[in-house]
């Protein structure tokens, strides 16, 4: 059971951020970024599908990729809390106009830096399905990382306002990355089984990678302190249920509907 939870953790990460970033579809700050973010979502949802398909087969209890995405409740989701947060800083209203692209880019950067390193190592997973998905996802994640890296530099080394907003997004989001490095019990079990890699072993590389970009971008590596979130254990912020509510409502209104 534990190993399946690791598949779900990776799948939920990709699905939740894919759904979140898809909010920019038709609302991007500029046309090119509207398209870029929609493509990013498409890749993430594709990755989620591949992972859910394997998870469903391993569960062998009638689960399907759709039942795992649409018919689990927030507490069952194992995504990192960082990925479910809205596209704006704290204490801001929910209006579309309040979305801050700096938050979007900083989050994509922090997450794709993590996943580029994770997928790179998972190519050597003892599980053939995991190794295949990792090789495929790594190619996509490198493009996501490059995209976020370039924009972070443009923001940080841009105007006074863009630098200030990028720094505020970093100050807000970096504490959430503490969760990356605390292995959940199912992660440890997956490591022991040869399926997963110990995420803690990637922290030094991740720190170095992030520090490099921030230095070029003239931004500060703000402190990672305070409350450590537990999304991967199913303890989420209030934002996940709204996100899932929107994503799951159609499937739940018409269960098993086809068109």
């Amino acid at each position: 059971m534990a190993a399946v939870d690791y598949w779900l953790h990776l799948a939920d990460n990709a699905l939740v951020l894919g759904q979140r970033n898809a909010e920019w579809c038709g609302h991007g700050p500029i046309l090119e970024e509207d398209i870029a973010m929609t493509n990013n979502s498409l890749d993430l949802i594709g990755q989620a599908r591949m992972l859910y398909q394997v998870a469903a087969a391993r569960l062998d209890d009638g689960s399907t990729e759709d039942s795992l995405a649409y018919f689990r409740d927030p507490q069952a989701f194992k995504n990192l809390t960082l990925l479910e947060l809205p596209h704006h800083g704290p204490l801001v209203g929910y209006a579309v106009d309040n979305r801050d692209y700096a938050v979007t880019i900083v989050r994509n950067f922090l997450y794709s830096a993590l996943m580029a390193l994770v997928w790179e190592r998972l190519q050597a997973s003892k599980d053939a399905d995991m190794a295949a998905i990792a090789a495929k996802s790594l190619k996509e994640t490198r493009y996501h990382l490059r995209h976020a890296h370039d924009w972070l530099i443009r923001f940080g080394d841009g105007t006074e306002v863009s630098a200030q907003r990028a720094q505020a997004a970093l100050d807000y989001l970096l504490p959430f990355t503490q969760e990356f490095w605390s292995a959940a019990p199912y992660e440890q079990a997956a490591v022991d089984a040869g399926l997963a890699i110990d995420v803690r072993s990637l922290q030094a590389d991740w720190d170095q990678l992030v520090a490099h970009t921030l230095e070029v971008a003239k931004l500060r590596f703000s402190p990672r302190t305070g409350y450590q979130t537990q999304g991967k254990l199913g303890q989420h912020s209030e934002h996940l249920s709204y996100l899932l509510g929107e994503m799951q409502s159609l499937a739940r209104a018409h269960p098993e509907g086809v068109w």
Binding site: N39, L42, L117, K139, E140, D150
Partner: protein, 179 residues
Amino acid sequence: MSTSVTADMETRLARATRLLATVTDPEIPVVSLDEMGIVRGVFEEADGGIRVVITPTYSGCPAMTQIEDDIRAVLQPLGQMITVETQLSPAWTTDWMTSTAKEKLRAYGIAPPSRVCGSAAEQPQVMQFIRDAAVVDAVDCPHCGSAQTVEASHFGSTPCKALYKCLSCQEPFDYFKPF
């Protein structure tokens, strides 16, 4: 009596392969699935069924379902026993696109990948890759051939393409990213 090969004598496998070569990429209708490297194999099973193995270009590619449907439709004359199987490994790479495909892309107005990716082992590690991120591929304009082009956006009309602009003829164009 003549022993020349007739349509009747063409094996089911050969016929399947011939029919399959006519299926084009739904997103880029000038190239066939075969030329794109999406078709990884065509096999005849012991029971006479035909099995086609395909691989997705990008994991979220919305064209994959269409591709499966198109393959089933074109192979319909061969009967019911057609299976289309999706295989993830080895992961698709633009290196598998044939030179014909690349020429057809160029003629269609899409600049083909300007470099070879190589195997996963040959690609730079992530830690190095991010330091090289500022390097942009040199791409020739598919319209006028000029090398004076700039990248406008990493992502174009589909995940597999970037958006470029030619500084000589001023035309924008898609670039099929090395992948």
